[in-house]
């Protein structure tokens, strides 16, 4: 039972973070493509901005890993 709950917790940690990242990337991506249509030289910056929210899912991954490794024994 406890292991199951830990698994759900870990899943939520990474899943919710992934949703948040996806939401942020969708907004940034659509704005970024709009900007690129006008100024193709901004490609690097758009990639950079697009990649920024990925930290959220990486932190979610870190929390999920901690739940499994530290609490799951």
């Amino acid at each position: 039972m406890e292991i199951g709950l830990l698994g759900i917790g870990a899943g939520l940690a990474i899943g919710l973070a992934a949703l948040a990242t996806g939401y942020a990337q969708a907004r940034i991506g659509s704005a970024g493509i709009g900007a690129l249509a006008e100024k193709p030289e901004l490609t690097g910056r758009v990639i950079l901005l697009l990649a920024l929210p990925e930290t959220l899912v990486i932190l979610g991954f870190a929390v999920a890993a901690m739940i499994i490794l530290l609490l799951g024994g």
Partner: protein, 627 residues
């Protein structure tokens, strides 16, 4: 490294202006500065006279027209060679004579292409309506119109019927029926005398009249279908013939490519005049030249100017922004565009290309880490490089990045003991040299964080070095503070996980405190807020390298899924399924690590020392050659 630049003034007699500009344009060695932006030039900017303005307009027009014609040629054009006469009147006369013929051929081709695209739609519409057609369509004195409408709006047919009845008092026929699940078709047989009124009525009703191209309008529907199908066979042959004629016309004039380039050259030279300074008798060109090519420029001007043009090294003002030209060894050169993708480095700052060459493929390999994937990628990159070396040197250069990445992928594949995921272990008993990514999650995470800490520490050390070199106390303080905080934090983590003696705890906390205080002090009162935030950001930066482990694990498990699925059915099916999954994993495994490794550089690493927003070196004469 960044090539040092020297600011120069090319000064000469006005009668040498044209030949000087031509020579500068040909050598493509000077990045022009507008004299109005150069405080050391006191001459007024040169203004083009009426003749020159007219020539500029002519050149633009002729170049656009010639470019338009050349773009019609579908086979590769000959490389421009040699010089051709560019007497503008003669060029104009030649184009006026030849262009209409080629343009007419192109217009005809476009028409046929449009016909080829629309005819199948008409055939489909008619084929659906033909089953409804009565034989009386051939009746003398009667017209046939076809309409189709959405099945949901079939009621409109009743309205049409009533309207026609009012108009023609029953002297008409409507045959309707379902042509497919969503569409209803109807054929109207009406007296020819009422044609204008019928057209007007159909325009007002909620129905789509089937309009056929004019050559089929008077033909009965069944016959029209046969004719259209015949036409669909003929059209591609006619189009190919026309295209061949266009290509022949253009290829018969190989001098056009050279002419187009020369028109562009002349245009660029004339439009550059407004950047120059001039008096009635002299001119001055202000610009930046790569220092190693200064002698070459001097020699060129001496030859071309015949003693009437000199090159003078200009004094540097307070706020100079020299352009940036990166020059790295051949192994690092392919990474230059990746650095510039973010923004060119500032002149005088550090060129991170070599560092990117070391770390980007390394991180890529850590993420993908599979012997077979690496070998496939290596073969693909070498193949692309060989195929594109002549035709597209840029693509060939970028493929070198993937050659390095593939080599690291194989190396890390050996370290992780991965060959198509766990297939190497299953079939060949392959064992990891160091970490088994599938099982040893904790060591893998620690390794990723350690890589991050080391990479960011290197970035901070470079930041300290650059701030020190530029005597920028604020940036130096911030970089040193961040570095101390990071070292302290790493030491604390080391003590917590029993890798360092507990006696290190107090000094580690002290180092973190000193670093944070330094961060706060450098920012002033607002530092109380930004200092701790900076510290949190730093922790986030280090943890961000966990993506190296995360992407790696995802790749391992996808490979394992491929192997498990492959083992389920008969061997031939298993090979196909596993092959498909491995291909998918390889595509994801190339795309994702590339983006993630780039991001780790742009955000986490460059953020610590990189000074971007430099102006790329764009010598006068290079624009036309780029096209």
């Amino acid at each position: 490294m960044l090539v040092p630049m020297t600011k120069v003034h090319v000064i000469g007699h006005r009668r040498r202006l044209e030949s000087t500009l031509e020579a500068l344009h040909r050598s493509a060695v000077v990045h022009l500065i507008d004299v109005t932006d150069d405080a050391s030039v006191t001459l007024p900017p040169m203004s083009a006279d009426d003749d020159q303005l007219r020539t500029i307009e002519d050149l633009r027009y002729l170049k656009a027209r010639l470019g338009g014609l050349l773009s019609l040629c579908r086979t590769p054009l000959a490389e421009p060679v040699g010089l051709v006469d560019i007497d503008l009147d003669r060029v104009r006369a030649q184009l006026d004579e030849t262009a209409p013929r080629i343009e007419e051929l192109a217009r005809r081709t476009r028409e046929l292409e449009a016909e080829l695209e629309t005819l199948p739609r008409h055939v489909r519409s008619l084929e659906r309506l033909v089953p409804l057609l009565p034989e009386l369509t051939e009746l003398e004195g009667y017209d046939t119109d076809a309409v189709i409408l959405d099945a949901r709006h079939a009621g409109a047919l009743g309205e049409l019927n009533a309207a026609l009845d009012d108009m023609l008092s029953g002297n008409f026929e409507i045959i309707s029926g379902q042509v497919d699940t969503d569409t209803v078709g109807a054929v109207l047989v009406t007296p020819k005398t009422a044609k204008p009124a019928i057209q007007s009525l159909l325009g007002r009703q909620q129905v789509n009249r089937v309009r056929l191209p004019h050559q089929f309008e008077a033909v009965p529907f069944r016959e029209a279908i046969t004719m259209m199908e015949r036409r669909l066979v003929e059209l591609p042959i006619e189009i190919t013939g026309l295209r061949e004629q266009i290509d022949d016309e253009i290829r018969r004039r190989p001098e056009w490519t050279a002419l187009s380039r020369q028109l562009g050259d002349r245009l660029e030279q004339l439009t550059a005049l407004r950047h120059l300074g001039a008096t009635p008798h002299t001119f001055v060109v202000s610009g930046w030249v790569p220092t190693p090519r200064l002698v070459e420029l001097g020699r060129l001007m001496e030859e071309e100017g015949r003693g009437e043009v000199i090159v003078e090294v200009a004094p540097l003002g307070e706020q100079e922004h020299p352009p940036v030209l990166m020059s790295n060894r051949s192994l690092a050169r392919p990474f230059e565009p990746l650095v510039s993708l973010l923004s060119s480095p500032q002149y005088g700052s550090l060129d991170p290309t070599t560092l990117m060459m070391i770390f980007l493929p390394l991180f890529f390999g850590m993420m993908l880490g599979d012997i077979v994937y690496g070998l496939i990628l290596l073969a693909a990159a070498l193949y692309v490089r060989r195929r594109t070396r002549a035709s597209s040197p840029r693509v060939a250069e970028v493929s070198k990045v993937f050659v390095l990445a593939a080599v690291w992928t194989v190396i890390w594949g050996v370290i992780f003991g991965e060959l198509l995921g766990d297939l190497g272990h299953r079939l060949l008993g392959l064992e990891p040299i160091w970490i088994n990514r599938e099982e040893a999650l904790q060591p893998l995470l620690v390794f990723a964080v350690a890589v991050g800490a080391a990479h960011i520490t290197l970035g901070l050390v470079l930041g300290v070095w650059m701030a020190g070199r530029e005597h920028d106390r604020r940036r130096l303080g911030t970089a040193v503070g961040t570095l101390l905080a990071l070292v302290g934090l790493m030491a604390i983590v080391g003590v917590v996980v029993d890798r360092l003696p507990s006696g290190f705890m107090t000094p580690a906390i002290a180092v973190v405190v000193v670093g944070t205080v330094l961060l706060i002090a450098m920012e002033g009162p607002i530092g109380l807020l930004t200092g701790p935030l900076e510290l949190m950001g730093l922790v986030g930066n280090v943890l961000s390298y966990l993506r190296i482990a995360a992407i790696g694990i995802a790749s391992v498990y996808l490979a394992r899924v491929a192997n498990e699925l492959g083992a389920l059915g008969p061997i031939w099916l298993g090979v196909i399924i596993a092959g498909l999954f491995h291909s998918l994993n390889l595509v994801l495994g190339v795309f994702s690590p590339t983006i993630q490794a780039l991001r780790l550089h742009y955000v986490e690493f460059f953020g610590k020392f990189y000074q971007g927003d430099g102006t790329p070196f764009q010598p006068f004469g290079s624009l036309e050659r780029k096209e």
